[in-house]
Amino acid sequence: MILLRLFFEFAKVGLFAVGGGLATIPFLQTMGENTGWFTNADLTTMIAVSESTPGPMGVNMATYVGFETAGLLGAVIATLGLITPSIIVIIIIAGFLQKFRQSKTVDAVFYGLRPASTALIASAGLSVAVSIFLAVGGVTEHTFAIRWPSVALAVAVFVCMKYTKLKKLHPIAFIAAAAVIGAVFQF
């Protein structure tokens, strides 16, 4: 019974959370309060783990909550619940798009969408950059320091993958190297 409820609770998140994985967090807070499956403190731990492990954050969160609530089967059911609305909605839209691919109107709309989509990705990248390059706090609440090692590492990775022979390497190679550098030099 709890599995059925888990599925529907996460289908609700999948239906109403729009955007990145962070968009699921307010819904998960409400879920925790309504069901008593986990506390806000549990949620904080789950967010930290979801951010520091492979996999899209929103998916990791669903898996984690599902596992904590009803074990391995719970993890599977919660994740399936999260992805079911997406799959249905996107398959309908994708079918629709395929049908109207030749349409000049669809083409015109996408002409405007593409630069906007690129800008939103750039904006998300900038937000991540600000959050990791700036260390808030320090002497007073309002001062912040630039984390130069992180900046240097990001610049080095960017230059390597853009302008050197290393650009043939898979992105995960850069991620792995950065993890080692972070661990060794205590970022």
Binding site: G21, E51, S86
Partner: protein
């Protein structure tokens, strides 16, 4: 059957290589899906991200469903999505069961700080790559700058920005055209 297995495994690989939100998936998708497999183009990826953030569900899932669907129909959409969530199921289950203080381990925190720096560089490099195919003329560059400012500085709703940009595209290409816009 073999094709679906390939789809599943490719997206499982994308899932394993993604650290952070759906945007962090973009560099991996470009490498695996656009460059290696040729299942989609850079333009299509931007289309999927645009639609994926206006429709229900998280971007990572929506994009996976889109690409799978484009390659092998509705079943392809399902298989690609199952592929992308599969690594999370295994990794999170193991950590939840044995290592719930995972995120507090000092070496993990330091390594993650390094990973995040690399992810910023990867996203920057992806944006440059996408920009080459999506910023074709002055109007496109204008839309890009306005949306970037509104999204980053004012934190305007992505859904609203996408809808407005689509309208601008429609007006510029369908209503103002022909003649005024140079189509090359």
């Amino acid at each position: 059957m073999k094709i679906f297995l390939e789809l599943f495994l490719t997206f499982a690989k994308v899932g394993v290589c993604t650290f952070g939100g759906g945007y962090a998936m973009l560099p991996i998708l470009q490498r695996e899906v656009v460059e290696k497999k040729g299942w989609a183009t850079d333009e299509e990826l931007t289309d999927y991200f645009a639609i994926g953030q206006c429709t229900p569900g998280i971007i990572a899932i929506n994009t996976a469903t889109f690409i799978g669907h484009k390659y092998k129909g509705p079943l392809g959409g399902v298989v690609a999505t199952l592929g992308v969530v599969f690594p999370s199921l295994i990794i999170i289950t193991l950590i939840a069961a044995f290592l719930s203080n995972f995120a507090d381990i000092p070496v993990v925190r330091h390594a993650l700080a390094g990973v995040n720096a690399a992810v910023v560089a990867l996203i920057a490099s992806s944006v440059v790559k996408l920009g080459k195919s999506t910023l074709k003329d002055a109007l496109c560059v204008g839309i890009f700058l306005v949306v970037l400012t509104l999204a980053f500085v004012v934190k305007a709703s992505p859904v609203l920005l996408i809808v407005c940009a689509g309208l601008v595209g429609y007006v510029a290409r369908r209503l103002v055209k022909p003649g005024k816009e140079d189509d090359k």
